[in-house]
Each structure stands twice: as structure tokens, then as C-alpha cells.
Assembly symmetry: C2
Homo-oligomer: 383 residues x 2
Amino acid sequence: MAVPKKQLVKNQEMVIIGPEDGFPVASAKSRKAKNTITIRDVAEDSGFSATTVSIVLNNAPLARYIPPHTKTRIQKAAKKLGYHPNIFAKSLRSKRNHTVGVMVFDVTDPYCTLIIRGIENSLYQASYLPMMTDAHNDRGRFERYLEMLLERRVEALIVLANWLFIDINLLADLEKSEIPTVIIGRELESKSISSVTVDEEGGAGAALAHLHALGHRKIAFVRGPKALMSAKKRWKGIQKFAQDAGLDLDQKLIVDLPDQLNPNVGVEDGYRMTEELLKRKKGFTALMAFDDMTALGAIRALTKAGVKVPEQCSVIGFDDVMPSALFVPSLSTVRQPMEAMGATAVNIAMDGISARAENREFGAVQRKLPSELVLRESTRAIT
Amino acid sequence: MAVPKKQLVKNQEMVIIGPEDGFPVASAKSRKAKNTITIRDVAEDSGFSATTVSIVLNNAPLARYIPPHTKTRIQKAAKKLGYHPNIFAKSLRSKRNHTVGVMVFDVTDPYCTLIIRGIENSLYQASYLPMMTDAHNDRGRFERYLEMLLERRVEALIVLANWLFIDINLLADLEKSEIPTVIIGRELESKSISSVTVDEEGGAGAALAHLHALGHRKIAFVRGPKALMSAKKRWKGIQKFAQDAGLDLDQKLIVDLPDQLNPNVGVEDGYRMTEELLKRKKGFTALMAFDDMTALGAIRALTKAGVKVPEQCSVIGFDDVMPSALFVPSLSTVRQPMEAMGATAVNIAMDGISARAENREFGAVQRKLPSELVLRESTRAIT
DNA sequence: ATATTATATAAAATCGTTTCAATAAACGCA
DNA sequence: TGCGTTTATTGAAACGATTTTATATAATAT
């Protein structure tokens, strides 16, 4: 955890590298024509067998019988020669490579960034490394990448299902792969694939409740693309709250984002749909957008139309994507605990890995994390 | 290559293994206690030797002597059994794993996103996969990751030096690793490490020229942290243009961002430094920020102080980071060709890899890409 | 008819580890 | 003294491919 934050390096400076004598680093080169140092080189140099070297260096169970004296001799030799075990050989025996595949549907979607960090961070703690792939929202690419990852025998798979309309075949491909698999952002029914999602229904409900509490009654909605699971979930949460609170949802104030793939035109779409909304001349004092990008587009459209946000119209988004806090006005939104989601996914994956290593059965787990309402400048009590 | 796509397994169910008759699919399971299918299984099944199988499946030179009949037999068998060559065994011989290490100093920095995409995309074209690491701007973490990547024998290293103050030791570590290494975003003098940079001097000059052309003469500057190479470069470009154009750079209108590591407080810092600037009561009609995040902070501060952007003060940034186009007003800036930078880095790395595969010498190359002025709403002619 | 070459396949060596099974010395103790 | 452990170490097998070398037949050339 705690990491050195100081060391404000003086940097640049770049001295010309001089004689640089001394230091045990040198001798690493003097092997006979071969440049790679194997365990046998260490064995020879230390005067013990390869077996013993292996045992010592891996601190295997048998190491308990090896006297400290021998151990240090071997370690010294290894260090002197700059020995690094060949990981291919190692993996060949152990069938493990401490690598997991991370499949993203679109890295440029800001939604991914923090999740990726969450994944990376947890993986790091476990001394695992991610192989990251980006499907560019393209099926074929996704499948090709899946194949590549399986070929490489990654120990687990984490799929970041932002946005893409995952269809059944994709799932089948995933299920066929017999390694622990976790999907982030997409709830599913599979018995063999785990999932980490956020409580979108609750989050959307809370957002609406917030607007309601601020006194808003005429509320417009820019819903997500119909084909998107998230859109359904969020809308359900909205309906539920509306019903409970006796709030009327005016059909005239509801528009849908079109079904298309590119998340980065989210802003454009939000802008257009909001214009559409304004065109209907049905007044509203608050607007709830499918996500932050849409909300941003909405704010633009409103501003352009002379409607001040938040003075004349509150706007709330969903996700709490990185730039949301930076906009003017900063965006009220529903935060998805992205880093936590990444971390959770990794935990599940790791459990799967160790289960399989110990030949235990490991059932898929579906975990749903709570979302969090983040109140900023874009929402305000009705005047 | 081509792998069986059908066999939509009914899975789960996990029947106690009984007679298990019928279907050709079955036999894959009935190996003697072992679940993985090796080349020898394919050999046995097809009635040829492992050697022949290997030759056929890899389409090795010798494959030219093997009759089509045999080939198809083997391919059929491989497909039937769902054979995937064990990549560890493969790499163990060939010493290649089609993997490159990508080291980022901070993924949450929006500057990275498109570069990462550029890297990923080019890598994909070459059938390589990236192992992505994120140093969190921490030295120790960087070094640990470097070690992990080298252990895994990545074939090349691409370092995305966004922001971090790379010091001499870090470079030494990198140089010691004897694999092709490319740094993005940091020019350097090394004879063994390649680099891809953008023409920051020219870009900064062009930005200032733009403001100048709009009629601005009293221009404020929020310079980057002194320790940062980019800051120096950009300032140099500014000085050069100022000199050429006979523009006076008022010391009172120049402030520096503090030397610290976190790029995400860029906005905060920009805000604070701009406040400082305003406090000096020396009027200015345009402000040039070190980067987009700083510019955004500046806009906030100006707006807060009642100075309208761009009506009363133009603001220009640097980088063209993803959200910059989305802000209100959208930000004029100097675009770094990020995807191209990533692609270029990969190309260099690939050249290095093939050079080394063929035992050729490969000198480091330093490539500088042109930047591009992007004019949006935040700059405007003086009234 | 015989030497040569092209075709077709296989046995064995190799890559660098880890692990199993074996051996040998030292130790405890009846 | 002898016998079973414990301690200390090792040779050889295994991991799953590729590559080198070898072998056998068929086709062609001389």
C-alpha cells in the first residue's frame, strides 16, 4: 500500500557514463558463446547440482534440509551471474504463468479507465500481470483476441463489458473457455461465468429521488439505447421510484438514445436528443440523462437554448466518469465504484484460479456493488 | 490458426462418466486421466508422428514434401481433438512469445488513453499482445514492474513517459535490459533507447503565434513544472516566437506550476495559479496554459472572477486530451498525434525485434512527430 | 543397372525448469 | 554394533513443443 511519494528527483543531468568499474554486475557476460544463464550455470558455479539450486532458489519444501551455508553459496552465485529463471521453462512445468487476460470493449471510453486501474492494482498485489486487449467494439476483434489470450494460457479472464451489446454467441465463446471468467458491468445468468455489476436500478432510483427531493416534478429523461441492458435497469429504477413517490412520468418528456456502438458520440447524441426534447415545448425543470456523456451533451444543448444549468434546469448523469467533476457546472451523478469493481473482479478471478489449482469446484459468483450519489453543481433546488 | 467454432457444448451437467459412446467429440475427454491435448495425441489419432504433425501444423519448410492427403488428415485430427499448441513449450524453444511490455506512468492521465489505443492497435496488426503496467507515478512500482516484465521475457518495451520525472537511474535500468526499448514522450540522448516525441517547441510556438495573430499582446502564461522536460521545451518555443515577433513577455504575467507528481490535480493547480495571476492586477487578454488540464483550471478561475472566456480572455492549452473538445467553451489547443505516436513506437519496437531475431545491430532511433494546432471556441480575436 | 535426387516420415536431441526417486552420510538409540 | 531416521544432495524423468538427423521408398538421370 503505502508507497514512497517523496524523491522529487533532480533529474535531467544525464552524466556521460564513464569507466564504471568494479561491482559484481560485470561477470555475467563471460559464458561460453551463450548469453543466457541457465540454472546449470549457477549449479556449476556454485558447485552444486541443478536440483539443489532449484530447491534453494524457489525455497521449495525440501529447502528445509539444506544448510544455510549452501543456500548462501547458491544465492551468491545466482546473483553474481545475474541468473533469471526462464519463465517459459518454468511455466511449462507448472502450467502457470501469473497472467490474466483483460478484455475491454473500448479503452477510449472514460468509463473504463478507473476500472482498469482497479484491476491493475489488485493484480499487482497478487504479482499477476494483465494482458490487455481492446475490441474496439468489434465482435470479430473480440473473438480473435479471445483466441489469442487462450492460446497464451492466461489463468483467468476479466471482461470489461462496457457498452457493447454482448450477444449470446460471445457468451458461448467465453463459457467454452474453461478458465475462470469474470464479466464486469453485465449481469448474466450463466452458471460458469462470474459477474460484477453495480446496482444501477437503485442508483437511478436514488438520482431521481434526489431531483424529487429538490422539488422537481417536471422531469425529462434521456434514456439509454434500448438494446443496452444498463438502460433497462436504470429505467426500471426510475419507474419504481416514480411509482412509490407518486411521480408522473410524462411520455412527452422521454426520449431514447439511438442504438449504436460508439460511446464517444454520447455527447453528440445527448445534445441532439435534448434539442428534440426542447422542441417539444413541454417545460421541464430537471433532466436525467442516461450517463455522464449524455448529460454533458444535454447541458450544452440547454445552454445553447438559453436555459441556464442549474438555475433553470437541473441535470444529473450516471457513472461519474473522470471528466464529470471538471465540467462547468460540475456534474451531479451516480458514481459507480469503478476501482472497487475492478478489484472485486480480480478477487473473484483469483479465487477461481486457486480453486482450480487445488482441483476444487468453483461456482460462478454474481456480485452487485452499491452505487453512490454524488452531488455537485448541476443540480439545485427548484426556485 | 483456425479452431473449431462449433460444438456448442451443453456443459455443466457433469454426468458421472459412464459408457460415453457416440459422437467424435467425445474422445477428447477419454485421454488417460490427462485433460490437455498434446501434439502426441494428435499424432496418435492421425496415425503420424509428432514430427509430422508439427511440420504440418506450422507449415514449416518441410511441409512442402508432405502430401495434401496427410495434411488434411492431421488437420482434421487436430481440429477434432481441439488441439492448441502449448505456448510455453513453443516459447521455450523459439525464445519468442509475441508479447511486449507497455509501461505507463499513470493510466488515469487522459493523455495516455489514445496513445495506448495506438499501441494496442499496431500491436494487434502484428499479432502481438501487450502486457500493460501502470506505475502510479511511483518509482518503486516502476522498477518492480520492469523486473516482472523482463522476467517474462517480453520481446520489447514501450514506456509511456507521461509526466513522471524520469531520472537517470530509471534510464539505467532500462538500458540494462537488453531488449528493444522505446520511450514515448521523452526525448533522450541514449544510444540504446529509442524515443518518440512530439514537436513541443514548434507546437507551443504555433499556439502563441495563433494568439498573436488574433491580436493578443498582453498574454499570460501558466508554465509547466520546472522539472519537467516538456515544460522547458514548450517555453523555449514560446520564447523563440516572442523574439521573432518582437513580442514582449511580461514576467508579471508568468507563473509556474509546482513540481509535483499527480497529473489529476492539474486542474486545481491551473485554477490556483490563474487566481494568483489575477491577483497581480496586471491585465491580460489571453492565457496560454501548460496543458489542457491547466487550461481548464484557468478557465474556471477566470469565469469565477467574472472574466468571460473567450470574450474577455482567450485561453489555449496543449495536448488535446479527450475531454478538451467537450468543455464549454471547447478548448483550442495543440494536438499531439497520440495514436500515431503509439503506432510509431510499436513500429520501432518491431524493427528492433526483427533486427535482434536476425542478429543484426539495431541503433536506437529518435523520432519527432509534428503537432497540430486545433482551433475551437476558447480563443477569439481581440475586440 | 546403378547412382542420384526428391519425397515422406520418424527417432532422437534440445530448450531450461521442476520434481521424483535414489543415495549417502550423519545421527539417535536400543 | 546395527538399524531406522533425519539431513543433504543428486541423476534422471517429465513438461510439450521444434529441429536436426536419419531412414526408406520412389522417381529420375546416367
